[in-house]
């Protein structure tokens, strides 16, 4: 199984590969031609993304009526700190009830966890972006305390967005166009676009390796190291005509830029919101299969495993009743 020499630009590191490596060991069954060096890098990202999802599942399993958003955010922070996370792309968020759909959000400060208490049947979203060993993850985890048919529907419909985004990135469509297509699909599904509420209205943003420092402060919940990386990307991108923020604006009117993108489409429907967020790897390979792929296809959401398990581990309330 030999393939022609492939150049893969990835996270601003240029690598050359002479041999193809099957990436089946990643669990996704996706074959891509990358070197051991690259897969080692990706493996680092994958490890921290898995860690984040484990945290989300662990915290979601511990949520019970009466817990506040702040407590849920603290649980995520502590869980990850215990496992060696020292820096953050952003601190963990938690949204409960209609805050999952950002109802009446006007100020960015409203994203931060509040004293809103969780009630049975309420939807929730946990969103965290830990940096571990210099690798960044940024994940979103939607669930509900007990049965919430609306959110289940939203989650099922999010899978169409996941497929759409991957397909169109592989087609090398302009990011702005993809954004508009996602928007159109949402309208057809009857949902509101809630990622427009995020800073700069982004559906995705780049993530990168972060230098480990002994002291890593954060401003407004965002890690300074990561912000620095983003700012430097924005600076280079501005010169080269691309942006590390995937927004509906002209700045995103360019084909997908190789690198790691944390994609986070967020649907809202009358006071219930749901999102997924995971890392999409974009390379400059000509082979469409390898030009873009999800970093990990075996996550607790969207994967066959999740479907058979009925989306995450937070269903125990339904079982208790």
């Amino acid at each position: 199984m030999t393939q022609p020499l492939t150049t893969v630009t990835f996270a601003s590191v240029k690598l050359r590969a002479r041999t193809a490596v099957s990436v089946d060991e990643w669990g996704g069954g996706m074959t891509t031609a990358v070197t051991g060096e690259l897969s080692k890098d990706l493996r680092g990202f994958r490890v921290v993304q898995r860690l984040a999802y484990e945290c989300a599942e662990a915290v979601a399993a511990r949520l019970e009526p009466g817990i506040t958003e702040r407590e849920a955010a603290r649980m995520q922070r502590e869980w990850l700190r215990e496992r060696g996370v020292r820096d953050w792309f952003h601190l963990p968020f938690a949204w409960f009830g209609d805050r999952t759909a950002f109802v009446n959000f006007r100020l960015p400060l409203q994203f931060f966890p509040t004293h809103r208490r969780l009630e049975p049947g309420m939807p929730f979203i946990l969103d965290m972006a830990p940096v571990y060993d210099g690798f960044t993850a940024d994940i979103g985890y939607s669930g509900s305390l007990g049965i919430n048919p609306v959110q289940n529907k939203l989650m099922a419909d999010l899978e169409a967005h996941r497929e759409l985004i991957l397909r169109e990135v592989r087609e090398r469509r302009s990011l702005r166009e993809i954004y508009e297509d996602v928007d159109r699909l949402m309208v057809r599904q009857g949902y509101a676009n809630r990622h427009r509420a995020y800073p700069f209205g982004v559906i995705a943003h780049k993530v990168d390796r972060v230098r480990q420092r002994r002291w890593s402060p954060h401003v407004f919940g965002f890690g300074t190291q990561s912000l620095k990386g983003l700012a430097s990307d924005a600076f280079h991108g501005h010169r080269e005509g691309w942006s590390p923020l995937w927004s509906p604006y002209r700045s995103s009117d360019h084909p997908p830029q190789p690198g790691l993108w944390a994609v986070e489409p967020h649907l809202g429907f009358r006071g219930t919101g749901a999102k997924f967020e995971e890392i999409l790897v974009v390379t400059d390979s000509r082979d469409p299969e390898q030009s873009a792929f999800w970093l990990d296809d075996d996550l607790p959401w969207g994967s066959p495993r999740a479907r058979s398990f009925e989306r995450g581990g937070e269903r125990r309330w339904a079982e208790d009743e």
Partner: protein, 587 residues
């Protein structure tokens, strides 16, 4: 003699009187006991009882001294709540000895049923209680006391308001006079009064010929209980069964404010309201039967509710049948969702089958007990007739009709071809005409009220050089709604015209533009879609306005500030509006 066809009658002896009890339906089913009010006999339920008998064992009885039950001797002291409770227990034991019964009371039937549902000795005998137009005298007493002891302006207003409605209670306390009136002229004229003032359809043996005696005896219900209870209301009058409260909003005798704090007394309270006068068992039997059936079924089934309606107007629209055209997207879809959240059964009509199906599916998820999608082009007369027949046969008579389907057409009048005109009038005007004609007729024939909402537009009164055909069609819809409102007012059917301004829906991306080629049309669609998106007025707010318009029975409702502004200008500064009409739109 009785108008209750197929009823099995029996006599129950209790406390020196003999009660006439009628039964309908399968005795194996849950028992529903209907208690009539004043001045009535059990025949007041003659419309409701057969509808309930399809599902339940329905029992009605004449309260002592009424109808064909005998009166106590002497009358004074023979009508106390204690004795009425004895009667109820005797009937319940006779018709359903082993199972608790579901109690339904109207007017004085509800007043005494409150006593049954709150005293200790009936505990375990009552499974549920549906109350209409009759508060507990104890709750009423506390309500008055609270307002007398801490009189804020609002409370004084409420007190005076209810006082003005309770004048007849004072009259009934005078000796002999009421008896004379009832046995004399009042008794003779009562059916006509009911028909004219209370809009009770005069048919089918109601009121019965026993009315003068019923009313004369029934005066003792007031004399024996009202003063005593209002002076010293019981402090332990807590309901020991789930209660459903049905409040007619135009009741001439009871203010809805009476029930403001009812949750304190009846913790498991389900509220329902309907726009009707006092005699709802006569005027709204379908609605009552549906609500009683739903409530009784849910109580029997241990009240399992997977999805509950949480909407603001759930008390009003719960279980009602709502048909929305153009429900596949935009305002129609948002309206369907708003009604679904209020617990209504939704029929989503659209020519886009996928969109309609989607709306129906999501409606079921957010609170609609049932929702269906129908793929129909509203401009197609035959298809609409078929739809009307199907809806009537399978889902029932529509309670709220929302004629919302519409298309946009821009471009100068001189560029607009007859085909363009036909297209826009077919959907925007004829669609509304068909809807009103077919479903309005069903509503009128049923004779139990309803509401029609037509989506017009601010363009209906704001002239413009950009939308001549569209504005014409919408102006026609506005006038049609106003005329129809006048015509149907007498039948209890309200008609509202909604006039939204620029609302962010996909009407812009499907709108046609006359006098331009396909590419330019596409460009203008995109441009107008972008402008509407910038304006960003959500269709959900229009949907809220629609529900509010139905609840308040508003005639013309401009939505969005620009629509309200234009509406005011059309009245007070029409010349300025005409000047605006000459402006070229930025497309």
């Amino acid at each position: 003699m009785t108008v209750l066809t197929g009823a099995r009658e029996r006599r129950v002896r209790t406390g020196g009187v003999e009660l006439c009890v009628a039964e309908l339906g399968d005795p194996g089913q849950p028992t529903v006991i209907l208690v009539h009010g004043y001045p009535d006999s059990k025949e007041v339920w003659s419309e409701v009882a057969p509808r309930l008998a399809e599902r339940f064992h329905v029992v009605l009885y004449d309260v002592r001294g009424h109808g064909r039950s005998t009166a106590p001797r002497p009358l004074r002291g023979g009508f106390t709540l204690k004795k009425l409770t004895d009667d109820f227990l005797a009937v319940a034991d006779a018709v359903s000895p082993d199972r608790p019964v579901h109690l339904v009371g109207h007017d004085w039937g509800s007043v005494q049923s409150w006593e049954f549902a709150t005293v200790q000795r009936t505990e375990g005998r009552i499974a549920s209680f549906t109350s209409m137009s009759g508060p507990s005298l104890d709750h009423f007493g506390h309500w008055i006391n609270k307002r007398l002891k801490h009189p804020t302006p609002r409370r004084v207003g409420q007190l005076l308001g209810q006082g003005a409605k309770s004048w007849y209670i004072c009259l009934l306390h005078t000796p002999v006079l009421p008896e004379l009136a009832w046995r004399g002229p009042l008794g003779k004229r009562w059916p006509k009064i009911l028909e004219r003032v209370e809009k009770v359809p005069g048919n089918g043996g109601y009121p019965t010929s026993s009315l003068p005696t019923d009313a004369a005896h029934g005066a003792w219900l007031y004399r024996d209980n009202v003063r005593a209870r209002l002076r010293r209301p019981r402090t332990d009058a807590y309901a020991h069964a789930p209660v459903q409260l049905i409040t007619p909003l135009d009741d001439a005798f009871l203010s809805e404010k009476l029930y403001d704090e009812l949750e304190l007394w009846a913790p498991q309270l389900t509220r329902r309201t309907l726009p009707a006068k006092h005699w709802i068992p006569r005027t709204r039997p379908d609605r009552l039967a549906a609500w009683i059936t739903e409530f009784v079924t849910s109580v029997e089934g241990g009240r399992p509710r997977a999805v509950t309606a949480t909407g603001k107007y759930a008390d009003r629209f719960g279980g009602q049948l709502v048909l929305v055209t153009g429900a596949g997207s935009g305002i129609g879809r948002a309206t369907a969702y708003a009604f679904a959240e209020a617990g209504a059964r939704v029929v989503a009509v659209d020519r886009d089958a996928e969109g309609a199906a989607r709306t129906a599916e999501m409606s079921r998820l957010i609170g609609a007990p049932e929702a269906w999608a129908e793929t129909v082009d509203v401009s197609d007369e035959q298809a609409m007739e078929k739809l009307a027949a199907k809806v009537a046969a399978e889902y029932g008579v529509v309670d709220v009709l929302v004629n919302n389907a519409g298309i946009g057409l821009g471009g100068a009048f001189l560029d607009t071809t007859p085909e363009h005109w036909k297209e826009v009038l077919d959907v925007n005007l004829w669609g509304v005409i068909h809807g009103c004609r077919l479903f309005g007729k069903q509503m009128a024939e049923r004779g139990q009220g309803g509401h029609i909402v037509n989506t017009a537009s601010a363009a209906a009164y704001q002239p413009s050089r950009a939308l001549p055909a569209y504005s014409t069609s919408k102006a026609a819809v506005l006038m049609l709604s106003e005329c129809l409102r006048a015509e149907l007012a007498g039948r209890g059917i309200g008609v509202s015209a909604i006039c939204p301004g620029f609302v962010n829906t996909n009407i812009t991306s499907t709108a046609r533009f006359a006098g331009v080629d396909a590419a330019e049309e596409k460009r203008r669609q995109k441009k107008s879609a972008r402008l509407y998106a910038l304006r960003n007025y959500p269709p959900e707010k229009v949907a809220d306005a629609i529900l509010r318009a139905v609840v308040r029975n508003q005639a013309v409702v401009p939505v969005t500030p620009e629509a309200r502004g234009a509406h005011l200008m059309s009245r007070f500064t029409p010349r300025a509006l005409r000047a605006i009409a000459r402006l070229e739109p930025p497309l």
